[in-house]
């Protein structure tokens, strides 16, 4: 019998032996797939959201300057921008106006920001795809469309109707879904903001080596400011997402341990029947090596099947089903997007590490006890 033929027979025997114990195999596969699904969902989600943040921040200004008043962020006078713009190495200073607007009609919190291209087009707004409109007639919220009128209550208590001139492109939903862009005058009307003052300053610096020097100079010149570097923000976001991912894995630790116990029990504790089977196989001339191969293939087929099912389900869950299960934990407090999808992205590194922490231990765990019983005298096993 050729080697391949022999191997084929062994695999054949493995599969039919798995088929004979449908109940056990199915139960292990089910729990196994579920655990992989949970783990992979967290990993995929964390990675995808970090990647999204990373892609967006890459283009962000190198430095933001905020002004503090009694330790809290406050508005920056325009004169600061001129002074900072004169510091060597600062390529440009952009005065930004942005804030949060709570819409009591829909109960949503939106980010309002000035878009310079809307200056002169007062009363118009460009909004994100997640902004809702509460229809008077229908009585329920629906997604806003171009041409709609968005009612806004200003901080003076007046009503302001903003005509939706456009919807922001889909590019990065996480960041633009809840956004409302207005002209500078509308912004100042909505928030009753003092003229000549801005929310913060965005700086472009060409030479990254100069960032620290420029930050020092800014603080020396304006001691009440706080410069924030892009790298700091990137690091903070990375830490936050990692922390959240870790937190969700912690909450799943119980399930994970339950699985480990089950897998251990199912895989390692050979039943008397299985021991007998091994005994008979040995009695009819199987070698220890052949039996180990059977057990190895058993472990591999169970774990790989479950792994594929789990990964596939996690992919659907995260990238198609908007991570229903742990959206609230991972996304943070500003969750208000009715529909939110991450760009599908999986790298080989994630898959391989998941494979190593699940499939490998399982396969190894199934082999050791079989090896122990395969080395016992068949006679004593069959008699037992």
């Amino acid at each position: 019998m050729s080697l391949i033929e022999k191997h084929r027979n062994i695999i054949d025997y493995t599969l039919s032996s798995l088929g004979r114990r449908k109940g056990k195999t199915f139960a292990v596969c089910l729990v196994y797939s579920f655990i992989i699904f949970l783990l992979a969902s967290v990993v995929f989600f964390t990675q995808a959201i970090k990647r999204e943040a990373d892609l967006l921040l890459r283009e962000a200004p190198e430095m933001t300057v905020q002004r503090l008043e009694a330790g809290r962020q406050t508005t920056v006078p325009a004169a600061y921008a001129d002074g900072i713009g004169r510091i060597r190495g600062v390529q440009s200073v952009q005065k930004r106006l942005w804030g949060y607007y709570f819409d009591s009609l829909t109960g949503a919190n939106y980010t309002v920001m000035v878009n310079a291209s809307l200056n002169g087009r007062e009363g118009q707004a460009i909004v994100g795809s997640g902004v809702l409109l509460r229809g008077a007639a229908e009585g329920e919220s629906r997604k806003i469309q171009a041409g709609d009128s968005l009612p806004v209550k200003t901080y003076r208590g007046e009503a302001l109707m903003l005509k939706v001139a456009g919807i922001l492109p889909f590019a990065s939903e996480l960041e633009t879904a809840d956004l409302i862009q207005v002209s500078e005058r509308d912004y100042r009307d909505i928030f009753n903001a003092e003229a000549g003052r801005y929310t913060d300053l965005a700086l472009q610096v060409r030479n990254r080596k100069e960032l620290a020097t420029i930050a020092t100079k800014i603080v020396r010149q304006y001691p009440d400011t706080r410069p924030i570097l892009r790298e700091d923000i990137l690091r903070t976001y990375d830490a936050i997402f990692d922390w959240r991912g870790g937190l969700s894995i912690m909450t799943m630790a119980g399930a994970l341990f339950a699985f480990i116990i089950l897998a251990w029990d199912k895989a390692t504790g050979l039943s008397a029947e299985e021991k007998k089977e091994i005994g008979i196989l040995k009695a009819i001339g199987w070698e220890t090596g052949d039996i180990l191969q059977v057990k190895f293939w058993e472990g591999v087929s169970v774990s790989l099947t479950s792994f594929s099912i789990g990964i596939f389900a996690a992919y659907l869950h995260v990238f198609v089903g908007s991570s229903l299960l742990f959206e609230p934990v991972l996304k943070g407090w500003s969750v208000l997007y009715p529909d939110f999808r991450l760009t599908p992205h999986i790298d080989a590194y994630q898959l391989v590490s998941l494979l190593f922490i699940t499939v490998l231990p399982y396969t190894v765990a199934t082999i050791i006890p079989s090896w122990r019983s395969a080395t016992i005298d068949p006679d004593s096993v069959m008699r037992a």
């Binding site: 962000a60 200004p61 390529q91 472009q204 100079k217 892009r230």
Partner: protein, 156 residues
């Protein structure tokens, strides 16, 4: 997510000035410095180039290597003479734009190091160079013609 969002918007809304008038020196992935043999594209902040009249270009990963090259042309390109040089460009420290190497101001012995260690840091104007010297402790301010082989020797 909020702060992040605002960052992104700033970019989306304002046409990025960094992209608008890009006057940097551009080297291709495979361009090597003829003096030290390093790939230069990885160090855009120190990039320098010498363009010859026949259109050929030599890239450098720092002004120090560029001066070594210029001060000893027969060794590096025996086929060319000083008269064959069309233009010499270096990267301005603050703007990172290409500036004329012959009229630039160079600061030596500062706390800013290039890929090859101590560097001559180029500036477009004297005022910029002076300010850099107060920030980064440069000891000497030099013009193109002041730079001699002995000086370059002290930088290695």
């Amino acid at each position: 997510m909020r702060i992040l969002q605002v960052f992104i918007l700033a970019i989306m809304l304002s046409a990025s000035p960094a992209l608008a008038g890009d006057q940097r020196i551009h080297a291709a992935e495979g361009d090597k410095c003829p003096v030290c043999g390093m790939f230069v594209a990885k160090y855009p902040d120190f990039l320098a180039q010498v363009v010859f009249t026949d259109g050929s270009v030599a890239f450098f990963d720092g002004t120090k290597d560029m001066f070594k090259f210029l001060l000893d042309l027969p060794r590096y390109v025996p086929s060319k003479k000083a008269a064959d040089i069309d233009k010499i460009q270096v990267t301005d420290y603050y703007s990172m734009n290409a500036i004329d190497g012959r009229t630039a101001w160079y600061v030596v012995d500062s706390d800013v190091y290039g890929p090859m260690g101590k560097e001559l840091i180029p500036f477009g104007s004297e005022a910029e160079a002076k300010e850099f010297m107060t920030d980064h402790g440069g000891k000497r301010l030099l013009r193109f013609d002041d730079i001699a082989p002995e000086l370059i020797g002290t930088l290695d």
